[in-house]
Amino acid sequence: MQSKSYIPYLQVAPLAFVFGAFLVIPILTILVVSFWDYDFARIIPDFVLTNYRELLGSPVTLRTYLNTLRYAAIVWVATLAIGFTIAYFLAFHVRSDTWQTACFLICTVPFLTSNIIRMISWIPFLGRNGLLNSALVGAGIVDQPLEFLLFSDFAVVLAFVHLYTLFMIVPIFNSMMRIDRSLIEAAYDAGANGLQVLTSVIVPLCKPGIAIGSIFVVTLVMGDFVTVRFMSGGQSASVGLMMSNAISLLQYPAAAANAVILLVVVLLMVGAMMRIVDIRKEL
């Protein structure tokens, strides 16, 4: 027996190696670089706190983080509402397995195209002379094209919701499918009405799915830069965009410091979610 004690280590070795090489080492590198100095062309190995001082001392950082958190909160609420509704419909209202699978596949069809294309295709649709405005003006609903539709916070949130709702649907649908149907019947037999079944049986049993979906959506929105840039017409900031700007100007240490802070913030958020819901129950 003694001779086999190394086997579990061998079994975890591949994953440990992958995590070590592609996650732990890069993150440590980012941490180290965040203390380096830089000028316009070089990064200089050093131990300085200027990157953090400049970042944390600037009112822009706070504003940008608040703005990103605001996007994350709005998008979370919207994707949760839409995602839960769709998952509920698929799980409980579509009776036949075939149709359930078919409808679920239809939900995923947009994801066969690239994320960027799905986002950019909103631009001609929402523009001042775009399809929607032409239709609204043509139908006499509005006199002037609606300017807030594109290059605005509205456009950013719309694109996010469109891009990320599926990440909410899939885990919630998965949780719902695992709910023992007899529990629901029992609830009805015990005299519960539809709303009570929803709030007292289905939602509590879906919590792990909701938590997983929320982690996906929140982390994706917190780290995004490309959606914010294109849909706001370069007029709004996000944390990811701040980093992307710094990187494009060779200010790697500043970007690294920002990445470290974003990582801490996102980990705290994920940690908080894990405290509320025990995700392992799901897995």
Partner: protein
């Protein structure tokens, strides 16, 4: 990274010793006048050489690579990146390119990092015919040198191994100028509804939510400065090298306008600017000349409006990577000589840019083309783009007129400031505001 640099340095020394020997030989040859035939000696071998060129999209054109292959046998592999990415790649991956096709303000950042080698002007055939703007900063002997990073100020270094820019013309050029232009605001004449004469017109409340400027800090700040100066809000010592106070003031004016909703969007790439203008989202904005052409070629009216305060100019050139030597270095010189020999110049001139050696380009253009593009005269026949699309009908006149009229009215060049880091920080605050 530290290790790489060390390795680079040792190799540099080795190469230098080799070059010293070679230089003596070349010096002799040059003295005896034998140097003129030099490139052709290698013509056979050069056919097999591949040069990796990277740069901003403007002159990384496939047509040039194809013609170069046909004329010289040299294969060019071109990579197009945005300005920031080019500077970044040049400094961080100096071995990833052979030829850098970069702007002069990027050169000011990149050359001192020691990733490029200066060129011996004795090996450049048409060096005397290069527009004097790149040699001494003056278009004509009595011109005033414009503000900003004027190309001649970073065009030469003190010696073969130097990375210090020389005050005046020397034998060692950092880059051979290839392409340049004078930028101004683009407008939709059908939608602005009033004459546009000054940079400040972009801030007219009438254009609220219909204006745009570009979000590349080093260039955007210059447009912003042209606007603020035109508004009479700020009088700059040197727009190309602002003080912190000047940067603060400029950014606060732009931020106030942004918060008031003056701007529809900020663009970062050429295509974005074309789409903004063509879709009518924006009717007045910072623009680059070929973007105006691109909007026009969709049948949408667009004018590259000359303004009273003058133009913001930029210039690009070809530089050689430090690691090139031997046959590849010869091929690089051969390529650069070919570049200045006229065909490319004519090609670029026909796109609305300017080429560095005008005499040779003229030989490759029809008299009518030359009159339209360079002399600002009405076109006698339809004007076609190099790839055969109709650009202007007969009778049209180029926006801004002749070469002297446009390049003679340059108010400032794209620049890198001493307060670069501060400026970028402030610019990002403006974008985030």
């Amino acid at each position: 990274m530290g290790k790489d640099k060390m390795a680079g340095r040792t190799r540099g020394i080795n190469r230098r010793t080799v070059l010293k020997g070679a230089a003596a030989g070349i010096g002799l040859a040059a003295g005896s006048g034998a140097i003129t035939g030099f490139p052709t000696i290698w013509a056979q071998n050069i056919k097999n050489v591949t040069l990796r060129q990277f740069g901003t999209g403007v002159s990384n054109l496939n047509a040039i690579a194809e013609k170069c292959k046909a004329d010289t046998g040299i294969t060019l592999q071109m990579t197009a990146l945005d300005s920031d990415a080019v500077a970044q790649r040049a400094v961080t991956q100096p071995k990833s390119f052979d030829i850098a096709d970069i702007e002069y303000w990027i050169c000011k950042k990149v050359f001192p990092a020691g990733v490029m080698q200066p060129m011996d002007t004795k090996k450049i055939k048409n060096v005397d015919k290069i527009v004097p703007l790149f040699l001494n900063g003056k278009l004509k002997p009595d011109s005033v040198i414009a503000q900003g990073t004027a190309p001649h100020s970073v065009g030469f270094v003190e010696g073969k191994d130097s990375t210090r820019f020389a005050k005046s013309q020397t034998q060692w050029m950092t880059m051979i100028p290839t392409i340049y232009n004078a930028d101004t605001l683009g407008i939709r004449p059908d939608l602005v509804g009033r004459p546009i004469t000054n940079w400040k017109d972009i801030m007219d409340p009438k254009f609220k939510g219909k204006a745009s400027i570009l979000n590349i800090p080093s260039i955007g700040i210059m447009d912003a400065a042209m606007i603020c100066e035109s508004m009479g809000e700020i009088k700059y010592g040197d727009k190309g090298n602002m003080t912190k106070a000047e940067i603060d003031k400029t950014i606060s004016i732009m931020t106030a306008a942004k918060k008031a909703g003056q701007f529809r969007a900020f663009w970062k790439t050429f295509d974005e600017s074309v789409n903004l203008m063509a879709s009518g989202e924006v009717i007045i904005q910072s623009m680059w000349s070929p973007a105006v052409t691109a909007v026009k070629s969709k049948g949408i009216p667009c004018v590259y409006q000359p303004l009273a305060e003058g133009y913001r100019a930029w210039g690009g050139g070809l530089g050689i990577a430090k690691h090139l030597s031997g046959l590849e270095l010869d091929a690089a010189y051969e390529y650069i000589n070919w570049y200045l020999s006229g065909w490319v110049g004519a090609y670029l001139n026909r796109q609305g840019y300017y080429s560095a050696v005008l005499d040779t380009a003229k030989q490759h253009m029809s008299a009518d083309e030359w009159a339209f593009w360079m002399e600002g005269k009405p076109a006698k026949t339809d004007i076609m783009s190099p790839d055969g699309k109709l650009l202007e009908k007969a009778g049209a006149v180029r926006d801004g007129g002749s070469f002297e009229n446009r390049m003679g009215k340059v108010a400032c060049w794209n620049a890198v400031m001493d307060e670069d880091r501060y400026m970028v920080q402030k610019w990002n605050e403006f974008i985030a505001a």
